[in-house]
C-alpha cells in the first residue's frame, strides 16, 4: 500500500500508474482473447473435455464458496450439495418444461440451489465457525438422501443416474468438446465478472465487515441478517450453476453420490490453497487441485511405466501431491494467489 502512495508522488511513476490503469482493461480483453481465441486453436479434445472443462467448473464452484467463506466469513462444507441441487434442478427443468432453453435452465438450477442455500444459511444467524460447519454438513447429507430417495428427481432411472440433455444454445450445438468448453467458459466469465463487481460493491464490503467482526458491522448499520443470507444465496447460486455444468458440460451424466462430502472438501481445499477472499485464488486453487494430479500421473507414466509397479507409482503420486499441499501452505498460508502477488511484486516492482 505504502509503495503505491509513494509512487503517486513522483510525476514519472504517475505516468506509469496511468498506463497501468489503461492496461488493466486491456489485460482483461487479452485474457478473454486468449481464452476464446487462442486456447481453442491449440487445445485438443483431450484438453477440452478432460482438463479445461473440469478446471473451469471447479473454479466456479470455488468462486462460489469463496464468496461465502473468503468474503463473508461463513464456513461451509455443503458446496457439493448445492452443486447437486443445481444439477438435478436444471435437469428436471429441461426435462419437464417443453422448450426450456439450456441457459435458462442453468439459471433456474442456480436459483433452486440459492433457495436451499438460504434455508441452510438460516442457522448462520445464531451459530458461527465449526458449529456452522456442522449445520452445512446437514445440507450435504440431506440433499444426497433426498436425491437417492425421490426417484422422480432422476426421472425414475433405476440406478439414480441422470444423463445430460443435448446441449443447444440458441440453435448452436455445443455437444462437441470445444462446444462444452465454450459453454463453460462463457458462463464462468460472466459469473466471474459479476463476482468481481459484487465484492467491490457495497454488498461485498458489508460481507467483509461481517467477516471481520459482525458486532462492529451491526453497530455501523450493516444488516447482518441480509448480508449473511445474501452471501449464502449467491454462493449457492454459483455452486448450483457449477453443478449443472459439471453434469451437463463435463461428465454428461451424474449420480447423487458424484456430489458427496469429498467434493465439498475438494472445493474447500481449492479456496484454502488458492487463497481465501480472492477471486483469482479460486482459479489458482482449482488449477492446483485439477491439474497437478494429472500432471504427476503423466510424468509418472511417461518416465516410470514398466519400471515401477503401477500401484506403487500411484501411491508415490499421492504422497507427492499431499506433501506439495503441505509445502505450499507452510510457505504461504494465504494461498497461491498471495504467493503469485508477492512474486509479481518482486519481479515487476
Amino acid at each position: 500500500m505504502s509503495c503505491v502512495d509513494v509512487e503517486g508522488l513522483s510525476p514519472g511513476s504517475l505516468r506509469i500508474h496511468r498506463l497501468a490503469a489503461l492496461a488493466s482493461p486491456l489485460r482483461w480483453w487479452a485474457l478473454l482473447a486468449v481464452a476464446f481465441g487462442v486456447v481453442p486453436l491449440l487445445g485438443t479434445d483431450y484438453w477440452f473435455s478432460a482438463i479445461l472443462v473440469p478446471f473451469l467448473v471447479l473454479s466456479l464452484a470455488g468462486l462460489g464458496l469463496n464468496l461465502l467463506t473468503g468474503y463473508a466469513g461463513q464456513l461451509s462444507v455443503g458446496s457439493s450439495a448445492f452443486m447437486a441441487v443445481g444439477a438435478f434442478a436444471s435437469y428436471n427443468f429441461l426435462l419437464r418444461v417443453p422448450g426450456m432453453p439450456l441457459l435458462v435452465s442453468l439459471v433456474l438450477g442456480g436459483l433452486s440451489a440459492a433457495l436451499l442455500g438460504v434455508l441452510f444459511g438460516l442457522p448462520s444467524l445464531r451459530i458461527k465457525g465449526f458449529y456452522l460447519v456442522v449445520s452445512t454438513l446437514a445440507a450435504q447429507f440431506f440433499v444426497q438422501w433426498a436425491l437417492t430417495r425421490i426417484s422422480w428427481l432422476s426421472n425414475d432411472n433405476s440406478s439414480g443416474v441422470i444423463s445430460a440433455p443435448r446441449l443447444f444454445v440458441m440453435g448452436i450445438d455445443l455437444s462437441s468438446p470445444a462446444g462444452r468448453y465454450f459453454l463453460s467458459l462463457g458462463v464462468v466469465v460472466i459469473l466471474t465478472v459479476l463476482a468481481r463487481n459484487l465484492v467491490n460493491s457495497a454488498t461485498g464490503r458489508s460481507w467483509m465487515a461481517v467477516r471481520d467482526m459482525d458486532t462492529a458491522a451491526a453497530v455501523m448499520g450493516i444488516r447482518i441478517l441480509r448480508s449473511k443470507l445474501l452471501a449464502f444465496a449467491i454462493s449457492s447460486f454459483y455452486c448450483g450453476v457449477a453443478g449443472a455444468l459439471w453434469a451437463f458440460a463435463y461428465l454428461g451424466t451424474v449420480e447423487p453420490h458424484g456430489f458427496d462430502l469429498d467434493r465439498s472438501f475438494q472445493i474447500l481445499f481449492i479456496i484454502i490453497i488458492g487463497g481465501l477472499g480472492s477471486v483469482a485464488g479460486s482459479f489458482f486453487g482449482a488449477a492446483f487441485i485439477v491439474l497437478l494430479p494429472i500432471l504427476l500421473d503423466n510424468v509418472a507414466t511417461t518416465f516410470f511405466a514398466g519400471v515401477v509397479d503401477p500401484g506403487h507409482l500411484q501411491n508415490a503420486q499421492k504422497i507427492l501431491f499431499g506433501s506439495s499441499i503441505i509445502l505450499f501452505l507452510v510457505k504461504e498460508p494465504e494461498g497461491l494467489a498471495r504467493l503469485f502477488r508477492d512474486f509479481r511484486q518482486r519481479v515487476v516492482g
Binding site: 500500500m1 482438463i51 433405476s158 443416474v161 451424466t253 482459479f283 500421473d297 507414466t301 511405466a305
Partner: protein, 468 residues
Amino acid sequence: MKRWVRRLEIIALASQLGFCASCNAARTHNEQASPARSAAPATPAVLINAPEQYFPLQSYRVGPYAAGGTGFFGGTIDYFNLVNLRDGGVGGVKLTWSECETEYVVERGVECYERLKKGLNGAPAAATNPLSVGIAYATLDRSTVDKIPLITINHGRTDSTDGRIFPYVFPLQLNPYSEVSAIVNYVAQKEGGLDKLAGKKIVTLYHGSPYGKETRPVLDLLAKKYAFEIKHIEVPHPGNEQQSQWLEIKRWQPAWVILRGWGVMNPVAIKTAAKTGFPVDHLIGNIWSNSEEDVRPAGAVGKGFISITTHPSGANFPVVQEIKKYVVDAGKGNLEDVKRFGSVYYNLGVINGILNVEAVRIAQAKYGKKPLTGEQTRWGFENLNIDDARLKELGALGLLQRIKLSCDDHEGGGRIRFQQWDGDKWVLISDWVEADRALLRPIIEASAAKYAQEKNIKPRDCASEVPL
C-alpha cells in the same frame, strides 16, 4: 492498490491459461513418445512399425477397490501377454496396452478415457474396460460418439443389453437384471420351487451407488410375480459400518439376504451378519461379492457364505496353466501377490481378456488381419459366438460359459453357478442356473426405449446388419 490487485489477478488467470496451452504441446509429445506400459516385449522403436492393436486400460490399483482392480486387470494383462508370447498376437497383430489409474473415481476415469482413446503409437484402441459402473455411465455417450466399444463384463447399465439403442455398449455375460433373476431362481430351487417363494421375505443389501441401485425395479417386479416380500436396504459407500442395516434385518427376519456389495462392504457384511446372528449360508453374495478378497477378511465366520459366479476360481484350467507357463514363470506376470493367481477376480480378468481377444479375432475375419478400429471390433463383439468346441480350443471349458451375442443382444450369457466358502477356498455347489431372460427382455427394451426417447436416438434395424 485495488487496481494492482486486479492487474495481478488478470495476469494470474492469463498465466494459467498460458500454462495450460504449453502443457498441451508437451503432453501430446509425451504421449506419442511414451513406451508401451507394463511388460511389452518390444522396444518403442520397433513398436511404431509393427502393426498393433491397442487396449486402453482404465485400471485402479489404489483406493478402497484395489483388490478388484489389481486382480481383474492383472488377469487381463496376463492373458494379453500370453497371446503375444505364445501366438505372436492375434492374426499376427500384437496386442499393446497402457494403464491409467482411475481409483474407481468417475472423473479420473473420464480423464483416462479421454487420454487413452486416441490409441498408442498409432495402434488404434479396440475397446475400453473400465470395470466401474460410474465410469461406464459417464463414458457411455462418449464411447458411442468416438465409436469405441465399452465393455462392462458382468455389470453395467442393464438396458444397454439392447444393442439396437446402445450399439457400442456390451454388458457381456451377465447384466444386473439377469444376475438377480438367477439368484431368485436359485432361492426358489432351495425352497422347493418358484411357487414356494410366496410369502417369503428377502432382503437386498446393496452398495449405495448406481451399481447397487440398478436392480431395485427388477427385484420389485420379481417379488410381485412370485409374491415374495422384498426389502431394499442401502449401505452408503464405502460400507465399512453396517450395524444399523443389520439390526433392521434382524428385526424383519428375512429368509434370505442378497448381498450386492463391492469392496470393503462385503467382509463387513459377513462379519456383521454373524454378529447379529444371521446365518451366513443364507446370505448370497452377488457377482461383486464373490471373491476370495471379499470373504477372507471376515475370518472364520465367513465359512458357509454363498455367492454366485460366472466363472470358477482355480488355476487348473488349461488356459490359466498356459499363462503360468508362458507369462508368470517367465517373470512377466502382472500380479504382485502370486498367491492370487487363479482367484476369482484374476480369472474374471482372464475371461475378459479372452472375450476381448476373441472379438478382435472375429472382426479380423471380416476386416482383415490388421489393427482394427473400435467400429470394426464392435462388429466382432456383436458377432461373438463361443461354443463348447471353441472353449475347448481356448482351454477355457468350464471357466467361461458359452456365449453368443447379436445385434440386439449384447449380453449373450445369463448363466451363473453358486459357490460356497469352505473357510479356505470356494467350492461349487450348483450347476448352471439360468436367468429368466425372456421375462426381463421387455423391461430392458422399455428402459432402453425411454433412453432413446430422452436422447433422441433412432434404434438400429438389426435385420439390415450383416451377420458373419
